[in-house]
Symmetry: none
Amino acid sequence: MPKSKERCQEIREEMRNTILQKSLLYFAKNGFAGTKISDLARNIGISQGTIYVYFESKEELFHEILKIADSKEMLTKMKMLAAMPVSAKKKLRILSETIWNRLAKEETFAAMIALSTQMLLGQNKGYSSEETIYQSKIYKYTSDIIKQGQKEKSMAAGSSMKLADYYWGVVYLYSLKRLFTTEYEMISVDDLERTVLKG
Amino acid sequence: MPKSKERCQEIREEMRNTILQKSLLYFAKNGFAGTKISDLARNIGISQGTIYVYFESKEELFHEILKIADSKEMLTKMKMLAAMPVSAKKKLRILSETIWNRLAKEETFAAMIALSTQMLLGQNKGYSSEETIYQSKIYKYTSDIIKQGQKEKSMAAGSSMKLADYYWGVVYLYSLKRLFTTEYEMISVDDLERTVLKG
Amino acid sequence: MPKSKERCQEIREEMRNTILQKSLLYFAKNGFAGTKISDLARNIGISQGTIYVYFESKEELFHEILKIADSKEMLTKMKMLAAMPVSAKKKLRILSETIWNRLAKEETFAAMIALSTQMLLGQNKGYSSEETIYQSKIYKYTSDIIKQGQKEKSMAAGSSMKLADYYWGVVYLYSLKRLFTTEYEMISVDDLERTVLKG
Amino acid sequence: MPKSKERCQEIREEMRNTILQKSLLYFAKNGFAGTKISDLARNIGISQGTIYVYFESKEELFHEILKIADSKEMLTKMKMLAAMPVSAKKKLRILSETIWNRLAKEETFAAMIALSTQMLLGQNKGYSSEETIYQSKIYKYTSDIIKQGQKEKSMAAGSSMKLADYYWGVVYLYSLKRLFTTEYEMISVDDLERTVLKG
DNA sequence: AATGAATGAGTGTTCATTCAT
DNA sequence: TATGAATGAACACTCATTCAT
């Protein structure tokens, strides 16, 4: 007798997510070219074949991971944050604390930041993504907050887009630290905010 | 032909340097795993075989590149700078301007920063380098300057090593920008200094 | 439930036959190497696992199919036909009409001819069959009929075995047409007989 | 110093042809699915990698082989033959003798016939060839000769296209014999002609 | 008995490296 | 010395087979 259809679906969904989560970390740490399917499978604790049950190719797997990394969730939060009726300084504090908390708790978050920033930069080439849209929209909302801050005289002068880019660059930096170094004196929220705040 | 021998040596040296320079950029942009000897050779404009005339293996070539990237020259300058009888703020300005100028002018410098920071982080794995010593010494001298600055009340409080790391992280960030994006609104010296300066 | 056991057996037998019939066609069309168990299962409308409930391996399944293809039934008919007290021309007509009728009606017959001829030839290698005995015995009886025909001056001169081989070759040819082309102007009994009949 | 450009080109051309010739035979004997690149390479006497120096993939190699098999050369000859101012019977004799001679001498010719007929039939699926054009044009010219023969009362009645198809079917049959059986009583030109000639 | 997810040996393909020229 | 064709070990991917349900 066949397994129940629902249970099957469930199992598939679970395995697919396991592969995605673990691969996200693995790709973030090793890059696309540096990731061997054999190593990845061993790392996940499954056989190579299983990966191909769920994904067409290494490239498709990577692509699906990027979709997760470039999460709409973050974008939605940013949109709401930018629209809140509070001071830019307050917004920046909320954003920075959120990031700081997630970076501290979730390695996965660090991996997402690392991967999507690398894609935005153009590292990890050869994989026609053209889809790092959310990330750059996030920059846009950050730039909006900075503009508000500049009007309120709380933030550093200069191109708000450049400053937003700078801010997220620092986030990227600490994501790398989180991923690659075992013991690390964690950046403080103050350090992060100093990138854009006026002295 | 008494002259030919020297001339020969000279030509060898030239070719070796060409390969090193071009490879530095290529590896910095594509990573170790992402760099194929065939692509690299085409990029340099020579045949694959020629690379093996000058270097034993892809790994040795990479190793030689790291030696350049982790240059003693920078270290010496830093040592001198740290020992100069001027204020920490002044030292920071000199350092930042030097970096800023080189980043603007030399793509090679950006590649050097990118590669050695990646090695320090632990990206580009699998290559028993254990030799990114100079780089971390540079961090040490930077940290010394920051300590001085903290005494002089010009620099942000907190672990001076963490701040040094932060400062160079931002330099790394802009090296990546320099390498990967064609048109980029360059970081200003002020932005760079803000990482460690008190408001 | 005294009846269920027999019924069970019956159902098993039915499924086994379904698999055999469908696989016969599939293997005949795609060859052994060209047949994937996954495709075959989808084609039959069952799961891959089910095939392994009834057959030990792809190879065993193929073997069982060959047993069907190399049917004793045809052999028995040929034996009787060869021994009948009529003219060779008449025998040839009976044989040709039988073949013609079955080819027109049963795709399965075409598949059987195709597979056993391929095995006889040596296509579909790698399968230690050594059992295409019936088929070659059929050739023998055909050759006997041709010999009789040569005595009766109704059939073409030359090696009777070669002519028998030729005759069945043409049958093979039209089996292929039957299997692979959708609309086909069917060979006539006359065409088929012309291979061995005197002008 | 580099190899001379011309010599290089020459070597490449030679190797490419060797691979094509040997692969033609190998694919004809084993089919597309039944051919492993590893076996093929061993059979040719080169490494697997070398095949990929000359061809993008197994599929492309197969495609190139089909181009050879579906040779324009044969087509041209057929066109000329069909247009000759002689009797259809004479034309058929010339054609049959040419085929008979080539089949006897060149295994390669047998392989070409075998492969292109299989492609025309639809065996060796999955390889979107859509290019067995020449072959079917050859059938057309043969059918023209048969039509002429029917007018001259030398050839069997019925659809000339069907008879042409039949004629080439027999050629295919003997190509298979040539490829797969070591000792074979070769078909005679008479046997071949009997497919279409009136008694 | 039937299923289909999981497996790993086997196959196709790539790429660092060698070597005859 | 420089070349690029040839190599084979390593990698991506497939598919016959197994097994828990």
